[in-house]
């Protein structure tokens, strides 16, 4: 079933009776060439690119719950490529370019909206750092503009320009950044992968790996043993739990990140705004809710819910730049489990077990990376070599002393 305008018009006139399920619900086969563990954004994108770009015909995705039930449905939907370091920025810009063609590519409306992201700066030193970062972005082929105070005021006149403690000095603007419908991304990749023959197997939790002579042979699941030549694990949030089955200790801690949405309001924020003196980011959904978040709670957690001190901190940061926020009522808040790595950057690499590959450590920035993460992981699974933009995301970089530390915070996961 191909989506197009004519089809929508026809269905509209005939009572929408012709739409079928977007993907099959198959039983697992005894063996596959490649198994992708994790039916979230990254796992589904991996399967999609394995089938569409790398010509892999016998691929399955194993998901312990229902499709897209983890962080792909819990994030604040921001897409951007405004990183600094050479190990990161080309990868995120590759992701941004994939976002730009995504909906035509997989024939699904992911509501990709390039509404721009504005990072506010509040000191001369921070403006210098933003100038440097903007130049790094331009070098990697991304777009970046440095705005002065008047430039920011012209875009968002209602920000708190009178804040004495955190005066707004300007901002780094990436116009090509924006938001996307997070569930739509999962559904689009799932449908695209299914149409190319990938089996998406839900309610199938991996409970162990069968490893023989240092090579992976398959996985034990709640729906029985499934054999595979290669297994790619993309379960960020649960990486520690799943990889413990393979006896691996990783440079990752699981933490909880909360997100919030206000009641529906009339349009006020047409882009994404971030506060530079604390950690706060806000955008407005197409339904009108202000979607915002801030720092992680800061302690190890798999609970998918946070505590009130982080709520208070996020609210204070929001009020510091956007006093009008105080008049909005909070509609919902929720939490997701994030893989916090030791340098704040992800891992896409082979593991010491032959045939077992790992995609993990996305901290709280995995959503924007979904297309490139899937593409690069598929590249690694299919060819055995890392994708050109993902060569720095090695598992052994910590032992080699080559971390990719955007914040310069050191091996302290809750500070990234």
């Amino acid at each position: 079933m191909q989506f197009n305008g004519l089809r929508l018009l026809w269905e509209g006139l005939t009572g929408h009776k012709g739409w079928g399920p977007l993907w099959r619900d198959p039983d697992p086969k005894p063996e596959y060439d490649i198994l992708v563990v994790g039916g979230g954004g990254h796992g589904l994108a991996t399967a999609y690119y394995l089938a569409s770009i790398f010509g892999q015909a016998r691929v399955a995705v194993l998901e312990k719950g229902w499709l897209g039930s983890g962080n792909i449905g819990r994030n604040t939907t921001i897409i951007r490529s405004n990183y600094l370091l050479p190990g990161n920025e080309p990868f995120y810009e590759f992701s941004m370019k994939l976002w730009e063609g995504l909906e035509q590519e997989f024939n699904f409306n992911a509501m990709v909206s390039q509404r721009g992201i504005l990072n506010l700066c509040h000191s001369d030193g921070q403006r210098d750092a933003f100038r440097r970062r903007g130049n790094a972005m331009l070098l990697a082929g991304a777009d970046a503009e440095l705005l002065d105070r008047d430039g920011v005021r012209a875009m968002y006149p209602y920000l708190n320009f009178a804040n004495a403690r955190f005066p707004i000095k300007g901002g780094l603007l990436q116009r090509r950044a924006g938001t996307a419908r997070h569930d739509g991304v999962a559904w689009g990749y799932a449908r695209g992968a299914d149409r190319k023959g990938v089996d998406i197997i839900q309610n199938c939790e991996v409970t162990g790996f069968r490893i023989d002579g240092g090579a992976v042979r398959g996985v034990e699941t709640t729906r029985g043993y499934i054999g595979a030549k290669k297994v790619g694990v993309a379960v960020a949030g649960s990486t520690g739990r799943v990889m413990a089955h393979a006896g691996m200790r990783l440079p990752i801690e699981s933490h909880v990140l909360q997100a919030f949405v206000s009641e529906g309001l009339k349009p006020i924020i047409d882009g994404v705004i971030t506060f530079g003196a604390g950690h706060f980011y806000v955008s407005q959904s197409d339904k009108g809710g202000l979607v915002f978040g801030g720092d992680i709670d800061g302690y190890n957690s798999y609970a998918q819910r946070g505590n009130l001190p982080a709520v208070e901190d996020v609210a204070e940061c929001g009020m510091a730049i956007l006093p009008a926020l105080g008049r909005a009522r909070l509609l919902r808040s929720w939490g997701g489990t994030t893989d916090m790595s030791m340098d704040g950057s992800p891992i896409i690499d082979a593991t010491p077990v032959q045939g077992l590959y790992l995609n993990a450590g996305w901290c709280y920035g995995g959503f924007k990376a979904t297309p490139a993460s899937g593409y690069a992981f598929a590249h690694l699974l299919a060819t055995g070599r890392p994708h050109d933009t993902a060569t720095a995301f090695r598992l052994d970089r910590f032992a080699r002393g080559c971390p990719i530390d955007e914040n310069g915070a050191g091996a302290q996961p809750n500070l990234h």
Binding site: R241, A303, N414
Partner: protein, 89 residues
């Protein structure tokens, strides 16, 4: 979360700063690069009971070893880190 401080009774977790796994108390001697890499970078990261270090920064400045369930946030025990370290010697 309320942390049952062994000397001060139940205290708001906001008074504390979190460091991480209590295994960080067992710092290896210098020279063994592999052991130091494991100490600095690798974590058990369990979903369940987790012994972890909290610093009572806005209180009596003591380090605590708190046993907390990472799946439920339930806190089962809190000991002074100096006692834990002393018992290990």
């Amino acid at each position: 979360m309320l942390i049952p401080h062994p000397l001060l009774g139940p205290r708001d977790a906001q008074e504390f700063t979190y460091l991480g796994d209590a295994a960080l108390l067992n710092r290896p001697e210098g020279g063994d690069e592999a052991a130091f890499h494991a100490y600095t970078h690798l974590r058990d990261n369990p979903a369940g009971p987790h012994r972890e270090l909290w610093y009572h920064e806005q209180g009596d400045r003591s380090w605590l070893v708190v046993t907390r369930d990472t799946a439920t946030h339930e806190i089962v025990a809190a000991e002074l880190a100096m006692d834990v370290k002393g018992a290990a010697r």
